[in-house]
């Protein structure tokens, strides 16, 4: 029997980097909702604690949810503007919101504990999000660092060398492998591609500049891009003949395999409790 406080202490002991309570994001790693003294009955890892994920957790007898996104539809007021576009929901707005009410009631009625674990997970020497995504794609053997025979996934080593294919075939393959309907592409479908930078989350122009400076890259595969920033930056790269394209998986699809990776990592030192990765699933469907 351990409490959620003890679970966090175990995570801090095993994460391998000095624990930082606050980085640039709006919320801090740690408990967002629930009690530090609650007994952990089981652990769920997920990209985002949707009401649906919370129900599945309760149905499987697990009360502790470790997530990347907060349950309140925002990265918080302190988050940089490209992470929130506008103000986070105010307390007054949340207090009067029927959707949040339903979710909050469910959290408190079931004594759930929601733990954010992002900044310190991402600060590790091995990029768990990248490793999870690469393995979900079946790209492990294409990773640049594989030549050394080591399973490293250094956070900055995002470079993959794939068998030559067209941008369209690459995108179709990713779509099938990750089962993502809303996958979006910039670039000419018939372009030949082989050098791929795979990363996750939101791509900023500075990220794209760094990638292209470091390596000759045909395509960047990532979660999302601001449509007046890295999106048109790639449109222009394609027009100028300086890159072949950009593949956007969607935030959830790009980050969710990392939650699976996290579940496996937790099993390495939390042995007395059931641990399950429950994917939130892509929020969208498409007409195509």
């Amino acid at each position: 029997m351990i409490t959620s406080r003890q679970l966090i202490e175990q995570i801090q002991k095993n994460v391998g980097v000095p624990w930082q309570s606050q980085r640039s994001d709006g919320f801090s790693d740690g408990i967002l909702f629930g009690s530090a003294d609650a007994t952990v009955t089981g652990i769920v890892t997920t990209f985002t604690p949707t009401l649906d994920v919370l129900r599945k957790a309760v149905n499987s007898g697990k009360n502790t949810i470790i997530c990347r996104e907060a349950p309140t539809y925002s990265r918080g007021e302190r988050a940089p503007l490209f992470w929130r576009n506008g103000s986070a929901p105010s307390k007054e707005l949340l207090d009067n919101d029927p959707v949040w009410h339903a979710k909050q009631d469910f959290i408190s009625k079931n004594n759930l504990v929601i733990i954010r674990f992002v900044d310190n997970w991402d600060a590790r020497n091995r990029d768990g999000q990248l490793r999870g995504l690469s393995r979900a794609l079946g790209w492990d053997s294409f990773h640049g660092a594989r030549g050394s025979g080591e399973d490293v996934y250094d956070p900055r080593d995002v470079y993959f060398h794939l068998p030559k294919t067209s941008l369209n075939s690459l995108a179709e393959g990713i779509k099938k492998k990750l089962n993502v309907g809303g996958l979006r592409v910039i670039g000419r479908p018939e372009s030949t591609v082989t050098k791929v930078a795979l990363t996750h989350g939101l791509l900023l122009v500075a990220d794209a500049e760094r990638i292209l400076r470091e390596r000759d890259t045909d395509v960047v595969v990532v979660g999302d891009a601001v449509e007046w920033e890295a999106g048109p930056y790639f449109q222009d790269l394609v027009t100028a003949g300086k890159a072949k394209g950009l593949v956007l998986l969607g935030e959830e699809s790009s980050e969710e395999p990392g939650s699976g990776e996290m579940a496996e990592w937790l099993k390495g030192f939390v042995t007395e409790l059931p641990i399950e990765w429950i994917p939130a699933g892509e929020p969208f469907w498409t007409l195509i």
Binding site: P89, V99, L183, R184, Y233
Partner: protein, 296 residues
Amino acid sequence: MKQTGLSRRRFCQLTGSGLLLSPLFMRAQSKSGSSLTAREVVARIKKNVGVPWHTPTADEFKVGDPDVPISGITTTFMSTLDLLERSMAAGNNFVITHEPTFWSAADVVSDLRDDPLYEFKLNFIEKNKMVVWRFHDHWHAHRPDGIFTGWNKTMGWESYASPAANPFSHEYVIPETSLEELARDMQTKLKTRSMRLVGDPKLRVTKLAHAGHYIQQCMQALQKVDVLMVFECREWEAAEYVRDAIASGQKKALIQLPHEGGEEAGMDECARWLRTFVSEVPIKFIPSGDPFWMPA
């Protein structure tokens, strides 16, 4: 080559009409035969927009010399490199863009000095003596909002728009349909390729609202309507909120358009509006187009 041909054709048309006969007129004139400058066009926009000109604003010259005679005007959602090339091919060296040129909200170029793409785009603009001016804040501030006037016209929804609760709300009551039928109609009319949806395809819907980019706006709007229409919302905000609304038993849906699909029609409207007070040069709306496609 193509662009020289176009210019020559226009030149011949204009000489034929006798516009170029006055020697005075010929001193400082573009190939269009007019001496109109981008700065003069913008002065007329300021005079006609009907709201006080607020500063600081994004609505400024972003690149090029505003005082050279212009050959024609392109209005568009976004001045991408591809759009600039197409504008030159159409013979228009003045681009009025709703969104940025240099990949950030404020077109900050100080960080881009060593960026080869920036240099490439800048060279293209300078070589072709183009001028780019952004028309964002005040086109939205125009009453009614020029962007949504265009959107309503393209959708054929002018008569469905509810009297606005405030200048920034855009609510509609449309003849009842299903979410999927609505989405298909919107996809066709907006020529969009990358629409994404949340909600039951068979959901019967009649009340809709544009909710802006922000989660606060989305939360305030959802309880009043069946469907939220958003563009450029971060995925962990609006989509997750509507997903939870549905999971909690509410009959709701979300249509997430590409930003372009939500606003490009408003720059078609801008071209129509400009023609009411700029007649010296050709004015053409050239869509920058949906940046995305989706694989099968």
